[in-house]
Symmetry: C2
Subunit: 430 residues, 2 copies
C-alpha cells in the first residue's frame, strides 16, 4: 500500500499494485460481459432521502455541500453512495422507459462508508457489482445464475478460494412465522449478528425480542445448519416447522444450490444463519468469505430485492451480487499473495546512444507502438549498464539497442541478439 501518510480508511495503491488491480478488474469485466451484462456508471452522489433507511448504514453516510454554499443550499441534501445497488435501483426506476428488460448491467465504482477504519474496513472502496432487474417479475433462475456467476468469477481470479454462503430470507421468515414469532425483522437482525456475538448473547437478545425458550432453541438449531445439496435441504423439515413461505424459500434455495452443482466441493453451501444487513433483501442472500480467513469478513455479497427499484404500480424486482475489490486486494497484498513486479505497462525500454541520437530511439519506439508493443525511451543517455538498471527497476525485461542491425537484450536470460524491428514480438514467456 502507498504511504502511511495517507488518510486512514482511504487506501491508495502503489503503481505495481495498481497494475494488478487493473488486471483483476479486467478479468471481472470480461466474465460479466461474456454473460451479457453491460457496463453502467451512476453518479457518485444521491439524494440523502434515497440513501437513508435501508439498513444499518445510515450513520455511515457522507453528506456533501458546496464550500461556497450557505446552510439553505438545496444540495445540502446530497450524499455519497455507500453501495452500488441503491443507485442502480434508482437509475432503473428513473429510466425504465428506455431500458430493455430483463436489464443486465455491471458496475465497477467506488463507494463510501464513514465506518471506523480497521483491518479490512475502508471508507472508500471499489466494488464490482452485477445485477439483473426484471419488469413485473424475475424468475428464480436469475438468482441461480448470479450466484453461479459469482462463484465462477471468483474462481477465475488469482485469490485464495472463496466459500459462498447462501440462504433465503423467505426461508427464514417462513421458519420464524411457523414458530409463531411475530417480530420477524428484529429476529432476523439479531440472528444476523450471531457470528459476531455468539449463541449466548444471541439467546439473551432473542429473549428481549420476545421469543420463548423453545423458539430460541429452534432459531439457533436452524442457524447451525450448513447444507451442500438441494436434496440435503430436507434436513430443515426435521426441525418440525412448517409455513408456506418456508416451503417457497426452501424451493428457491434448492434452485440456487442446484445451479452450483459441479463446483469445487464446499465452495457453495446453504448456511442457514446468513441474513445480510440490508433491509431491502427479500429472498436469496449470499456472502462469501476467504477459506481459512473467516475473520476478514465477507469479500462478496448480494441478494434478491423485490421492492427497491419498483415505483408506483410497476414491480421491478432485482437480483445482484457484488465483489469487494478493495477488500480482496488489500488482503492479498497484505499476505503477499499476488505478484507485483511490473511497475509499468511498458514491455521494452529503448536505449539512447547519446542525446544527439535520441531521435533514432524515438523512431524505434514509435514503430514498436504502432505494432502494439508498449515501450519507453530511456530518460538518460548514460552508460548502457545504467540504462539497463533503469529498465530493471521498472520491471522491464527487454532492452532495445537501436542500430543496424537492431539488438534486444533479455535482462532475465542475459541473451542479446539481433532482431528485426518490423517483426520482433514480446516472447510469450516475457
Amino acid at each position: 500500500m502507498a504511504s502511511a501518510k495517507g488518510l486512514s480508511g482511504f487506501p491508495e495503491w502503489l503503481p505495481e499494485q495498481e497494475i494488478v488491480q487493473q488486471e483483476m478488474i479486467a478479468g471481472i469485466r470480461r466474465q460479466f460481459e461474456l454473460h451479457g451484462f453491460g457496463p453502467l456508471h451512476t453518479r457518485s452522489l444521491e439524494k440523502v432521502e434515497d440513501l437513508v433507511g435501508k439498513g444499518e448504514t445510515d450513520k455511515e453516510i457522507y453528506v456533501v455541500r458546496r464550500w461556497a454554499a450557505g446552510a439553505e443550499d438545496p444540495e445540502a441534501s446530497l450524499g455519497l453512495h455507500y453501495d452500488l445497488t441503491v443507485p442502480f435501483a434508482r437509475y432503473v426506476s428513473e429510466n425504465r422507459g428506455q431500458l430493455v428488460f430483463p436489464f443486465r448491467r455491471y458496475q465497477i465504482q467506488p463507494a463510501w462508508r464513514g465506518e471506523r477504519p480497521q483491518h479490512g474496513r475502508f471508507r472508500e472502496f471499489l466494488q464490482a457489482d452485477v445485477d439483473v432487474i426484471g419488469q413485473g417479475s424475475l424468475d428464480i433462475r436469475y438468482d441461480a445464475e448470479l450466484v453461479r456467476l459469482l462463484h465462477d468469477v471468483l474462481a477465475s481470479l488469482p485469490v485464495p478460494p472463496v466459500k459462498l454462503l447462501v440462504n433465503n430470507r423467505k426461508l427464514l421468515e417462513g421458519f420464524y412465522r411457523g414458530l409463531g414469532i411475530t417480530d420477524v425483522t428484529r429476529t432476523l437482525r439479531t440472528m444476523d449478528k450471531l457470528d459476531k456475538i455468539g449463541p449466548e448473547k444471541a439467546r439473551i437478545a432473542l429473549a428481549e425480542v420476545g421469543l420463548d425458550a423453545a423458539q430460541i432453541a429452534q432459531c439457533l438449531a436452524l442457524a447451525e445448519l450448513e447444507i451442500t445439496t438441494a436434496a440435503g435441504l430436507e434436513q430443515v423439515r426435521t426441525l418440525g416447522v412448517s409455513h408456506p413461505l418456508l416451503d417457497e424459500g426452501l424451493s428457491e434455495l434448492g434452485r440456487v444450490l442446484e445451479a452450483c452443482r459441479g463446483t469445487r466441493e464446499g465452495s457453495v453451501v446453504a448456511a442457514l444463519r446468513i441474513a445480510r444487513g440490508f433491509d431491502y433483501y427479500t429472498g436469496t442472500v449470499v456472502e462469501g468469505v476467504l477459506e481459512g480467513h473467516p475473520t476478514l469478513g465477507s469479500v462478496c455479497s448480494g441478494g434478491r430485492y423485490d421492492d427497491l427499484a419498483s415505483s408506483g404500480k410497476q414491480a421491478l424486482p432485482g437480483m445482484g451480487v457484488s465483489i469487494g475489490v478493495t477488500r480482496l486486494l488489500a488482503y492479498c497484498f497484505h499476505l503477499d499473495l499476488l505478484e507485483t513486479k511490473r511497475k509499468t505497462p511498458a514491455r521494452v525500454s529503448v536505449v539512447v546512444h547519446s542525446e544527439a541520437r535520441r531521435a533514432e530511439s524515438d523512431a524505434v519506439a514509435q514503430t514498436l507502438r504502432s505494432r502494439g508493443i508498449a515501450c519507453l525511451v530511456s530518460d538518460r543517455a548514460v552508460a548502457y549498464g545504467k540504462q539497463m538498471a533503469d529498465a530493471e527497476r521498472l520491471g522491464i525485461r527487454f532492452v532495445w539497442f537501436p542500430g543496424d542491425p537492431h539488438e534486444v537484450k533479455d535482462i532475465v536470460s542475459g541473451v542479446q541478439s539481433a532482431v528485426d524491428l518490423a517483426g520482433w514480438v514480446v516472447p510469450a514467456s516475457g
Copy 2:
C-alpha cells in the same frame, strides 16, 4: 442521456451510451499504455487545505462530512477533488521514496466541481489524465511528448477534429516583465479572460491592474498571434519586447511545436492568448477545442507545473494533460455524432425452444462463453419471432438455434445457416 429526472450537472448515460464511453476509455488507456504510462487511482477525498488556493475553483469545492458526525468532526476538513492533478501531485510527494522517476502515470476518474450547471459544464465528470513527474528536473522534451500524445490520442478517437492551442507561461511572464509590468499574476488572469470578455472590457480591466495604454496595446497585440511553426515564433520578436524569460518561453514553445510537426495542418497552434486558469502552471500550457465548436469550451487541457508536488528541498516538476471525457461525450451524443446501437456486450442470443429444453440453450451459451463469445440466453421461451425481436431490441445481430445441426440466423442479412458450435466465430462484419 438518461432521464431528465436526474440531478442537473450529474450526467448518467444510457446503456448504449455507456458502451461507447467504455470503448472510448479503452482507446485512451491503450494509447497511454503504449507510451509506457501506468494506471493509478487516488482517493476521491483530499484534505480541504490541499484543495484550496490553487486558482479560481475554491468556491466550487464540495466538502463532505459524516452524517453522524458533530461539528467538531476532524473529517469536516475533507473535500472531493476538482481535478486529478492536485491529488496526483500529493500522491507523488507522499510516496516519492517508492516511485521510479521520471514517474509516468495515467488516471481516469471522476472529478467534482460545484459549478452552475449549463451546456458542457458538469458537477461530476470523468477526466482522463496523463502526467510525468521528474525528480530534481524534467526536460522540456516531456512537454513536447505529452502535447504530441494528447494530439495523437484525440486524433484516434471517433470525435470531431480537435484544435490544440499551446502557449507558455514563461513567454507571457517574460513579455509582461519586458514591458515593465509589475503585477504579472493579475495581468495573466485578466488576459486569460480575453476570449470571454472581449478586447474592450480587457482594456478597462488591464488599466485597472495599472497598465498604461502602450502596455495594453502590446498585450493585446501578443494575444492576437496564432503561429503554427517554431520558426514562425520569430514574429513575437517583431513586437520589440525582450526579456530572458521571454527567450526561454519562446524556446520551450518552439520545442513543443517542433514535436507536433507532421500533424494535420492547424491541429496544433501556438495561441499566445492562452494562459489557463490554474495558478500552478509554470511553463507550457495547452487547451483543446472542437474545431467549429468554439463555444463549447475546452475538451482537454494541461501544462507544466514545477512546484505542485515539490516538498522541502526536493523539486518534483511535472507535466500533464487531461481529456474531458464527459464533456467530449456529452457533446458528441448531443450532436448525434456517435453510433449508439448496441445495448449489450452480447454478440449472440441463444433461442430457448421451450422451458423444458432451457438447459440445452444454457449449455450452448456456456460453450460460446468458454470460447470467448459474449452471449445471452432468451428470457422467454416464446415464438421464435418474438425471441428474435427481443435480441434485435438489444442490438444483437446473431440468433442461435440449438439443435442438430445448430443454426445461426443473421438478423441483418436474414440468412440462416447450419454452424459448428466448436468452430463458429462472430463474423468480422458483425
